[in-house]
């Protein structure tokens, strides 16, 4: 009996010893090392339109900080490329809104930091300059230039941050015509995107039977006095003045229009925003039309933001920079998330062609916290599906009158 007990005890000890031995790894496991991938931004960070360039840089910094904490789709910290985790480090270059410096910035970021993706530059002249060298350097370019010409250049490493604005000219012209407006004066920035939109609007509006007695194209980064332009417009007695620029110059141009006694209505692109609201006041713009999107509305009316993406970014931005972001931040944030997710889908942070090829899927998944959600990316680099809408300002509030200013996919391809 005692012998049997000793036998069972020995067996139990041996079994336990085997179990303990099996439960311990033969060598202590090391956690996978988190690597760093550098991510480039080339944009204007000084000079008269620095606030717009800083909108791009800060959006990328904030988006990558979020990705480093929560991942692209909220499933853990950093980028997950295969089995490897990556932290994103932003490296930037101030091009001063000068195409030559944009090119220098691209070279520097690629040659010194080995980046494979660069967001920016801002503005079509700088974007076109960067697009001349990005394929040769082997880097994806994601400039902020809403021109319709860039998509036609056949750049295989090109990603446009937003749809070319000139394609909104037709729906805007129709909306203005439908509201009974027959005479429109236009003041536009000379950038390819804005001037293209103004000329196309004029063309379409005149085809509908309307009149555009004055179209002024100015350099908004240098123009500080719109009094005489507005005096000239006022003399034409227009139904509306279409101000095709960024938010800050819009505020200045409108204030000067009022100062010379213009009491009519305006029409604005979706860049119109907090600066105009603050400087002019929506109550002074009753009846004016605003091309807008989720950002415009959710920023102003957080209750409408059911997903909370816009509200979240605004809160974070306020905490980080104590300001309201420039409109340039919006597409830049979305593009940063898309490109980061494309790296994960492509399974590489070094092959720009594979990353670019994965961009459509990154959008089609619909998992990214985008501010103006696009649903696809076309072969020519245009994001698709994030249609803007049209609001009228009434009683000091934005009211949506055209839900989607739809542009057919065939027009953009």
């Amino acid at each position: 009996m005692v012998k049997k007990d000793i036998y069972i005890l020995v067996l139990t000890i041996i079994t336990l010893a085997i179990l303990v031995a099996c439960s311990q790894p033969s060598q202590p496991q090391k956690p996978a090392e988190v690597k760093t991938v550098k991510y480039g931004v080339v944009c204007v960070q000084s000079g008269p339109i620095a606030f717009m360039g800083l909108g791009i840089l800060r959006a990328v910094q904030l988006a990558t900080s979020n990705i480093n904490k929560n991942g692209t789709t909220g499933l853990g910290p950093g980028l997950k490329v295969g089995d490897q985790a990556y932290k994103i480090e932003v490296v930037s270059y101030d091009d001063g809104f000068d195409p030559a410096k944009s090119v220098a910035g691209y070279r520097q970021l690629v040659e010194m930091h080995g980046v494979k993706v660069i967001q920016g530059p801002m503005g079509c002249p700088c974007a076109l300059a960067a697009m001349k060298i990005n394929e040769e350097l082997g880097v994806i370019t994601a400039p902020l230039c809403a021109s319709d010409n860039t998509r036609k250049m056949g750049d295989k490493l090109y990603v446009q941050e937003r749809m070319p604005v000139q394609h909104y000219a037709l729906p805007l012209a129709k909306a203005a015509w439908d509201r009974g407006y027959r005479t429109v004066c236009i003041v536009s920035d000379l950038a390819d995107s804005w001037s293209g939109m103004s000329k196309e609007f004029k063309n379409q509006f005149e085809k509908l039977g309307g009149q555009v007695p004055a179209l002024e194209i100015v350099d908004m980064s240098k123009t500080t006095d719109y009094h005489s332009i507005m005096t000239n417009f006022k003399s034409k007695n227009p139904d509306i003045i279409f101000v095709v620029m960024y938010d800050e110059p819009i505020a200045l141009a409108v204030s000067h229009a009022f100062e010379v006694g213009y009491n009519g209505k305006f029409m604005f692109p979706s860049e119109m925003g907090p600066k105009t609201e603050q400087k002019i006041g929506l109550d002074k713009l009753d009846g004016s039309l605003v091309q807008s999107h989720e950002w415009t509305l959710y920023r102003k009316y957080p209750d409408m933001d059911k997903k909370g993406a816009v509200t979240n970014v605004l809160r974070q931005w306020k905490e980080a920079y104590n300001e309201t972001p420039a409109q340039t931040a919006v597409p830049s944030w979305d593009t940063c998330y898309m490109l980061a997710r494309a790296m994960e889908i492509a399974g590489t942070v070094t092959d720009p062609y594979a990353i670019r090829a994965a961009c459509p899927k990154a959008l089609q998944e619909g998992k990214l916290p985008q501010l103006i959600p696009a649903t696809d990316m076309l072969d020519n680099g245009l994001p698709y599906g994030a249609f803007e809408n049209l609001c009228v300002i009434k009683d000091g509030k934005y009211n949506v009158i055209v839900d989607k200013l739809i542009v057919p996919r065939s027009v953009l391809e």
């Binding site: 005096t231 010379v260 006694g261 400087k279 002074k284």
Partner: protein
């Protein structure tokens, strides 16, 4: 130009009002150029080189007004005075530590120093104030006065009245005081002034301080009417320089006249021809005037 043959009284009133509006626009803009050009020409007379950083000092005046009113909750009038005083002190510092030590250096060195100062001040403003535009919004910012079919923002009216007062004060100071006379004498002939016993160094420092104070006043006056940005001074500076050249180097009355002529050219061509090319017309006007009077309107013998 506006049509000359007019069919009915209504059209005539309208065309006259439109022309009047362009003139009002030009006069209000001319006031700013006038303040800038007066300071520039004063410094030019003393130093012999244009102070390229003058536009940056104007920009600092605007920022001072913005922060004093928006953060310290001080009255706007006080902010203009503060901008003038702070910029005058800054002008003295710049003169003492930059231009005075270089007083015997070749003019090219002073040119480069002035350009370097412009870059430093713009960069510092970007660092301190940020790249985001600032708006100085006052209770009457959107108020407008209408008269005879023309309109004028209240701030523009303030600019016109303030410029009138400042320029009258400057004129009285120069013409009616001994220091003012010494200032004018030094501007006209530095060596001659020294021989007459005028303390040229002190007078030059004062001229610099007055010039920078004028830039500060101009910046503070325009602050509620524009976007405040680190680079806001460059555009007005170009026209102000042209006004100094049109008026004749070193002549304050010439700078004032030049400023208004060029501002009116800018306003009228913007309205009647194209705003895109208005600065081109300004510089064409400058060249034409120099072809007619190479020394400028009130220029000294070359």
């Amino acid at each position: 130009m506006p049509p000359i043959s007019i069919n009915d009284t209504g059209d005539r009133v309208f065309v006259v009002a439109e022309l009047g509006q362009y003139l009002v626009n030009g006069i209000s803009q001319g006031c700013l150029y006038c303040l800038l050009a007066s300071g520039l020409t004063l410094m030019l007379g003393i130093l012999g080189v244009p102070n390229f950083a003058h536009g940056s000092l104007y920009m600092l005046g605007a920022y001072i007004a913005f922060y004093v009113v928006m953060l310290l909750n001080v009255s706007y009038l006080m902010s203009i005075l503060l901008a003038a005083v702070i910029l005058a002190v800054l002008g003295l510092v710049i003169y003492r530590f930059l231009f005075y030590p270089m007083r015997d250096a070749p003019h090219a060195n002073l040119f480069v120093a002035a350009i370097a100062l412009l870059m430093i001040l713009e960069g510092a403003a970007l660092l301190w104030f940020g790249g985001e535009t600032k708006w100085l919004i006052l209770p009457y910012s959107n108020d407008i006065i209408t008269f005879g079919g023309m309109s004028l923002g209240v701030q523009r009216l303030i600019i016109i009245l303030a410029t009138l007062m400042v320029m009258l004060g400057l004129e009285l100071f120069i013409k009616k005081t001994a220091v003012g006379a010494a200032l004018e004498a030094t501007a006209q002939n530095r060596e001659g002034a020294m021989l007459c016993g005028i303390k040229v160094t002190q007078i030059a420092a004062m001229a610099f301080a007055i010039g920078t104070a004028l830039a500060g006043v101009a910046g503070a006056l325009i602050a509620p009417a524009v976007m405040i940005l680190p680079s806001m001074g460059l555009g007005p500076l170009l026209v102000a320089f042209s006004a100094v050249i049109v008026g004749g180097l070193g002549s304050i009355p010439g700078a004032v006249l030049g400023a208004f002529i060029l501002a009116l050219v800018e306003s009228l061509t913007s309205g009647y021809i194209s705003a895109t090319y208005s600065l081109v017309f300004v510089f064409v006007a400058m060249i034409l005037m120099l072809l007619i009077r190479p020394r400028g309107l009130f220029g000294k013998e070359l």
